[in-house]
Structure formats: C-alpha cells, structure tokens
C-alpha cells in the first residue's frame, strides 16, 4: 500500500505491505538508522519514536497507523545545526556510553519533560523505566534529565 509518512516535518512517500511495523519501514525501507532495534518485542525502548509528541515503541506500531501522524526521531531534535538543550545536557553530564539506548532515551525523556516540566529526580526515574540502558547504571542519565528539568 501507498503510505505518506511525516518524519521530522518532512513528508516521505513509501510503498509498504500493510503488516510492516513502523520500525521496519523507518530502518529497512527508508534507511533512517537513528531509530535502533534492540529487542523487536516492545521491552527495551531502543526503537522509541514520537508519534504526535507521544513516545511509542516503533517495533509495536503498524506503519499504516502512523500515516496521518507526525513522527519524530532523534534527528528531529536538532534545530539549525544546534543540539537540543537535552542533547547538550546528556553531553555535559556524561550520560552516553555505548549510545545504543540514547536516541530512545532522549525521546522518551523529552516527551515526558514537555508534559511535566520541572519534574524531580524520582519522577524522572520512573519516566524512563521503559528504556533499558546496560552501560550507565542510569545515574548520569538522571543527572542530565534533572539538569535540563531545572532549566
């Protein structure tokens, strides 16, 4: 089927089979590799994208259902070549090690912080529990989120 996807504000037309997941279409059809595949069963959060500003596991979303909605990947966070302040906070606080969870982590956290500006550390801890990280032990990710939340 013909599908028109809006990814980071740009429209992309694709021919897909209706059973394809959004993750498959983004990575395999469109070559958008800033979305990562960690488990393909909705547990690890590495494939998180925003659909109309809400985080979803793109491995669990059928691509056709995303057709009329705004899709944001981590590449959509930069503005005019500048890193988003949350990306800068990740750098400043050493929140990145292998980086495989980072795109999904950034998107989940950003969507949450937009709805809960100024959230405290314990609230943020629960907000990211659906995004697994095997490297950092989460402390430096929370440092970055807390720093950003405090403006």
């Amino acid at each position: 089927m013909r599908l028109s996807l809006t990814i980071n504000g740009r429209s992309r037309d694709v021919d897909v089979e209706p059973h394809r997941t959004l993750l498959e279409v983004l990575r395999d059809t469109l070559g958008i590799f800033d979305v990562k595949e960690g488990c393909n069963e909705g547990v690890c959060g590495a494939c998180t994208v925003l659909l109309d500003g809400r985080p979803v596991s793109s491995c669990l979303v059928l691509a056709p259902t995303a057709g009329s909605r705004a899709i944001t990947t981590v590449r959509g966070l930069e503005g005019g070549g500048e890193l988003h302040p949350l990306q800068q906070a990740f750098l400043r606080h050493g929140a990145v090690q292998c980086g495989f969870c980072t795109p999904g982590m950034l998107l989940t956290a950003l969507a949450f912080l937009e709805r809960h500006p100024g959230a405290d550390r314990e609230t943020l801890r629960h907000a990211i529990e659906g995004n697994l990280c095997r490297c950092t032990g989460y402390a430096k990710i929370l440092d970055a989120l807390e720093y950003y939340a405090r403006g």
Partner: protein, 769 residues
C-alpha cells in the same frame, strides 16, 4: 595516601571531564553501528539452529530450503573448508591435557546445546532467508544429555565430548593448609551458588560483509576483537591478509562479543556467493545461543585466629561450561587466582574444575571468573566476622593484602594497595543510616572488597600499537586498532595524545579498529585497552614530541630541553615561539618525520606452575570496596538497595566522568546479578529468551550508585592508570548478601537473591524439599 606516588602536576587534559567525541556523535544518532550499515545488492543471512540440547544429526536435507524463492545459498558443515577453531591453554594439570576443540563453526553429526548453529542461509530478503531456515530438513535423534556440572563429572554421565566432560582443572597449593586449620581458633564453612547470566547488551550481534574491489573479504561488525580476521581466514582457508575486519563502535560488549559472533558466518556467506551479506541476530537468538557467564558452585572453608587473621583457606570451585570450551579454561584460571580475595593468607588450597554439559555455552563476561569468587570469599569474611564478634570492616582491615604480599598462586603484589582507605571511604559514604519506614521493613548494611586483574596473562606476551601523526595544518591523527565498546576507549586515546603534543582535543581525529589500516592493538577485553593502547599512544606521542622538539630546537638554535609544545606552538624558555604549522612545514623540508608508531609490550613471563605457586600471572590488579544499604521486607522477602557506594583505586582517572560511568554502570550490572538476572534453563532448554523474561535492571530498580574514585597513581597504565572496566561489577552481590544478613540475620548463599529465596530463608514459605 602514605606511600602513593604523587600525581604529576601541570596536566592540561588528563584528569579533565572532557566531552567524548563519540558521545557527541551518539546524541545526534550519527554513529553508524554495525547493523546500521548497508551495501548495494546485499543479501540477508540467517543461522539455522538446533532446537535440541543433545542430539545426533541423522540426516540434513538442504534441498527444500535451497529451492525456496530468493535463496542464494545454503551452507552446512561439509561446505566449510575448516570447520573447527582451536585454542591452546598451557599450564593446567596434566590429567586434563591440552584443550580440545573450542568451537565448531557449524555442527557436524552432533549438537551439544540448544541453539547450536547447524546451517547458514543467505537470501534476497530477510523474510525469504527466515522462511528457508524453516525449510531445512534435519532428522535429529535426541540423545541423553547432562545439565549440571557436578552430574557431568559423575561416572557414567552422558559424554558431551568423546574425551570426557572435565574440560579444565587448575589447582593451587600454598603453605601447610592442614597445619593452618590446626592452628585456627575459628573455622567457617560455606557453599555458594552463582547463576547463569547474559551480557544483554542493547545491540544484538550484527555485521555486514562484502568482497572489496581489491578482492579482500571485508567484514564490518560489532566486535571486541578485530583480530578474529585470522579465524575467518582459517575457516575459509584463505591467507590471513585476504580478510579485513572493521570494528564499528559497539552498542555494548561486556565480553559477549569477545568470541567470534557473526564474522565467520558472514565471511562464509559472502565468500561463497561473491555478494555483500548482512546478518543481525534477533534478541531471542542472542539470549538463546550466545555464550554467557558460568554458573559456579563454590565451597569455602576458612580458618582464622581470634584476632581475625586468616591462617588457612580451602576452596573448591566447579563451573559449567555448557556444550563447548570457548574461553572456560581461562575464565577458571582467573577464578583460581582470585579465589582467596584481596587478603593475605599463609596457607591456601584451590581446586577448580569446569565441566562440559548440554547447557548454553559460557565464556567471557565482564569480570571473567574474577566475579563469582567474590560472592564466595566476601560472604566468608562476614561469616568470619560474626563468628569472631568482630566488625566486618575490622576483619577485612586485618587481612587486607599489601604491597609485597603474595597471592596464593605466588604472585607478589608490586603496587600500592589502597584497601584500608577504600573500605573506610565506602563505609563512610553510606552516611546516616536510613530509618525503617515500617516495623516489617528492616535496614541493613554490608561491604564487599575485590581484586580484579587488568591486562592479559603475562605468558600471552600482550602488546598494543598505535600511530600518532600531524597533518600539515597542525591537526592530529591517532590510528589504533582498538575497538570502542562504549567505555570511551577511543576518546581517552585522543586525550592522551593531545596532552602530550600540546594541541586542543578538538584538533584530534582518531581512527580505530580496522585490521587492515590501523596498527593492531589487541582485544577490548580484560580491562586492558586504556592500559595497553593508552601506553602505546603515550609512547608514540612522546617519541613524536621529542623528534619535533629536536627539530624546533635546531630551528630556534637552542637546546631541546629549552623548548616545549603548548597550545599548538613550540615555546622556548627565552620567550620565543614557533607556530606548530611552521614547524611542520620546516620538518617536511628537512625530512623530519611528523608521525610515530608506538608499540607497548606488557610485562611478560613464563607460564606458572600454579601448584608450586611460582609467580606472576597478571601484570597488576585493581582493588575496590563497595558498601550497600538494603531494606528487606520481612513479610514478602523483597530486597531494595537503598544506597550503593562503590570505591575503587583507579590509579589515575584519565577522564573522571568516564571512570565514574564505568563504576556506576558496572555496579548496576552487578546489582542485577545480585537480585534479578538469571538465564533459566530446564533440561538444556532456555526459558528466558526475551527481555520480558530475562530481566535486567531498569532505572527504577536501582539507586544512584555513588562512585568514589581513588587515585594512587600506582597503575601500570598511562599516567599511573589502572583498568576499571571490569572491577566494579563484582562486589555488589556479596555486599548485598552481607547487608541482608545484617538486616535479618539470615544468610543467602544462592544468586540471584529473589524475594522467594529471601522468604524461604526467613521461614515465610516452606522449603519444597
């Protein structure tokens, strides 16, 4: 610190919390991981795996699969030029002899664990490859299996390999153990069990292979060891210089990407088809079939005097290697060497064996055999403290190893050991005790110390090399074959080069992990890259600096000791300066090289006779102490870790932020090991092949680990650094078990410490036996 070396003064970049170049790429998702690669006309490869843990392959018919749409090739063992990879492990008991086959590339007539590779398929699409995998017709005859290491060593046990199930056996004897126990005023005994766990990196095994325009088989993958290009060549029976491995920045490794993963399969598929091939294992496949951490049974008998001084240790270790040897013999050697912990002991014996079973294979994982033993020796230390009425801290202080003391294998510790400070600081780091929120919630505290080798075994004659050179515009290039697993390996090399050569970090580019184009640096394992490649870069940078400064001194007509490289220029002591770019142009005119290849050789030695305790096994060790505060729910058995303070003497923190990240991340992985992680296997069948059933810690499962970085300057790495990749994973399990006993009076001796095990120990539920 009394006898610690004074830290070098005047360092500009080393010791700074610099932002890693790879982190910048990663927050923008610009990093191309192995699975983010694609080639024109690429096929998709899959592995056909055995559903049985122990079976004979009566027949294997690939014709139906080969006839499926889109299928380019089906490969079985008989198509593999050289189907067996071997390894040689010197030094173990003669009763076992040299190690046999490490790995079959594809199973021949027999499968020895569930998920063992049987065949390879490449097809135009991934779906076609998967459909064809279903169509491979294998006639299996299930065979009796053995699923427990102790049972595997019983007479009459089903033989996993023809030569028997005992894979490796190390023994150590030091002093008169019987006399030690006779002298002991108290003896404590314990048996401990550790479980099978998975590396569970977020990025599954993945790669793409192609035959490059020069005919070289090129494989770009997620690996800790680019030197496996030699294994690929051996399997394909082609010259080693016809295979090139490019190591992408990894999405985590933790030892699980130390053995070969997809590279041999990709090499076969691309060599046989002549086309590019991509292979990405699914999460389920990774959890099913990848080598994991050995489950251990540990038996300890410890004798001490009333003062707490340990006078005898008797230790027995039994590990489960699963269906193949992989690195089990070496993992067991690490356990043997570390078995008595970071403590002085005049008489000790260690008897360590590892057996083949039909369970999932086990091999390298962060800590590499130095981890399981911590649960044993640190549980013993608390038992000893209780039996003697001493504080757990005091028993450890009394016995803490010091410079000049020997481990049971006879290795003398030649560097400063900061254990007393580490113990005090970790304990103090817990701060005020938390007050229980309710009467049934008990609070307790515990500590655990450890030692972990960094660098490879001295008789492996480890070395690393790196090339450092200036471009004509004054920008700097570092080339080093070191894979970056996410710990900041590449970034630290940049920091070291920039420090020595007086340039800004932003002026450095680093090219890593290409077996054809970067000087070989060895494996990113064994907490060795900062130590080994850091020293290689340091050496190259210093040589380069010296040759450039000699040229500058000639140009300025002054002495080489009167010039220095600072901020992109050469400055003379008399105030004159020469911009770096001018110096480089002058060097070009004068024929002075603007680059240097540095090679670092680790301290080498001969294989030790462990029984005679003859000497050095590892270059050096990293010491640590963790302190934990837990809350135990005495109604449900649920344990929450409220605080975890992790102190390590890292020698020198090149980038303190990266060091803290290693400590925090390692400790949380250790906390997962303590409380929740377990690959559940029933009669050889893996029941946890999903992240929904194999549980790793989430953000809300763990406290913020407080890292305490102690810098003695005593390490063998650049600027006195020690390895810190592995050490922090090991202490949490014992620290938590000790804290649980402090809270409740019950001792847990089996990992993971699930609510069920705690409830059983508390008598809340009856034991089924």
């Amino acid at each position: 610190m009394a006898d610690a070396v004074a830290l070098e003064r005047g360092l500009r970049l080393v010791g700074q919390r610099v932002i890693r170049h790879d982190a910048r790429d990663k927050v923008m998702a610009a990093t191309a991981y192995a699975g983010d690669w694609a080639m024109p006309g690429m096929l998709h490869g899959v592995v056909v795996r055995s559903p049985y843990p122990s079976a004979r392959i009566r027949s294997l018919d690939t014709a139906p699969a080969a006839a499926m749409p889109g299928v380019a090739i089906v490969i079985t063992a008989r198509d593999v030029p050289h189907n067996t990879l071997w390894t040689d492990v010197p030094g173990q008991t003669t009763e076992v002899g040299p190690l046999r086959a490490r790995l079959h590339v594809l199973a021949e007539d027999r499968v020895r664990h569930q998920g063992e590779p049987i065949a390879l398929i490449a097809a135009e699409t991934l779906e076609q490859a998967r459909d064809a995998a279903e169509a491979v017709d294998v006639d299996y005859e299930p065979l009796p299996g053995v699923f427990d290491a102790a049972a595997a060593l019983e007479p009459g046990a089903p033989a996993v390999h023809d030569a028997g199930n005992l894979l490796a056996h190390w023994t150590v004897k030091r002093g008169d153990v019987a006399a030690g126990f006779a002298r002991a005023e108290v003896i404590v005994e314990g048996e401990y069990r550790t479980q099978l766990v998975d590396s569970a990196y977020l990025e599954p095994e993945s790669g793409v292979a192609w035959i490059d325009s020069d005919g070289v088989i090129t494989i770009r993958l997620s690996t800790q060891v680019i030197e496996h290009f030699r294994d690929v060549a051996e399997v394909l029976n082609v010259p080693q210089n016809r295979v090139r491995v490019i190591g992408a920045y990894l999405g985590g490794g933790f030892g699980g990407k130390e053995d070969v993963t997809v590279e041999v399969y990709l090499g076969l598929l691309t060599w046989k088809t002549g086309r590019p091939v991509k292979m990405v294992w699914t999460r389920q496949e990774s959890l099913l079939a990848r080598a994991k951490r050995h489950p251990y049974r540990l038996r300890y008998r410890t004798g001490a005097l009333r003062t707490g001084e340990i006078v005898a240790q008797e230790i027995e270790i039994l590990g489960d290697s699963g269906g193949y040897a992989y690195l089990s013999a070496l993992v067991l050697l690490y356990s043997t060497v570390t078995a008595a912990g970071p403590y002085r002991v005049s008489a000790a014996s260690v008897d360590a064996r590892v057996a083949y079973t039909n369970n999932p294979p086990t091999s390298a994982m962060r800590g590499f055999g130095g981890m399981q033993t911590v649960f044993g020796y640190e549980s013993q230390m608390d038992r000893l403290a209780r039996a003697l009425g001493l504080s757990p801290l005091e028993v450890r202080r009394v016995n803490a190893i010091r410079r000049g003391d020997a481990l049971p294998v006879g290795q003398v510790i030649e560097t400063y050991v900061a254990l007393p400070e580490l113990i005090d600081r970790a304990w103090a780091g817990l701060g005020e005790p938390t007050r229980p929120r309710a009467p049934h919630l008990r609070i307790g505290r515990g500590v655990a110390c450890n030692l972990q080798p960094y660098g490879r075994i001295v008789w492996l004659h480890d070395w690393s090399s790196a090339w450092v050179g200036f471009e004509m515009d004054g920008s700097l290039v570092v080339r080093c074959g070191c894979p970056d697993v996410g710990g900041g390996q590449a970034s630290s090399l940049c920091q070291i080069a920039a420090e020595v050569l007086g340039v800004a970090l932003e002026r450095v580019s680093v090219h890593i992990a290409d077996s054809a184009l970067t000087p070989l640096a060895g494996t990113t394992t064994a907490s060795r890259q900062l130590y080994m490649s850091g020293n290689a870069v340091l050496k190259a940078s210093r040589e380069l600096r010296d040759q450039l400064l000699a040229a500058a001194a000639r140009l300025l007509d002054t002495g080489a000791d009167a010039v220095a490289m600072v901020d992109g220029a050469v400055h003379a002591t008399d105030g004159r300066s020469l911009p770096l770019v001018e110096l480089l142009r002058a060097c070009a005119r004068m024929g002075v090289p603007r680059s240097h290849l540095g090679v670092y050789h680790a301290p080498a030695g001969e294989p030790v006779d462990l029984e005679k305790g003859s000497g050095k096994v590892f270059p050096d060790y990293t010491f640590g102490c963790h302190a934990a505060e837990v809350e135990v729910d005495t109604q449900t058995g649920v344990v929450r870790v409220l605080k975890l303070v992790a102190a390590h003497d890292v020698g020198r923190a090149i980038n303190p932020q990266s060091v803290e990240g290693q400590i925090q991340g390692g400790a949380v992985m250790g906390l997962g090991y303590a409380l929740m992680e377990e690959v559940v296997v029933q009669d050889g069948i893996n029941l946890t092949t999903s992240f929904a059933s194999y549980l790793i810690p989430t953000a809300s499962d763990v406290p913020d680990v407080e890292p305490l970085v102690v810098e003695s300057g005593e390490g063998l790495g650049p600027f006195g650094a020690r390895g810190i990749g592995e050490p922090p994973i090991a202490p949490p399990a014992a620290a938590i078990a000790n804290a649980i006993e402090d809270a409740t009076g019950v001792r847990i001796t089996q990992l993971p410490i699930t609510p069920e095990r705690v409830a059983r120990a508390l008598g809340l539920i009856a034991d089924p036996q």
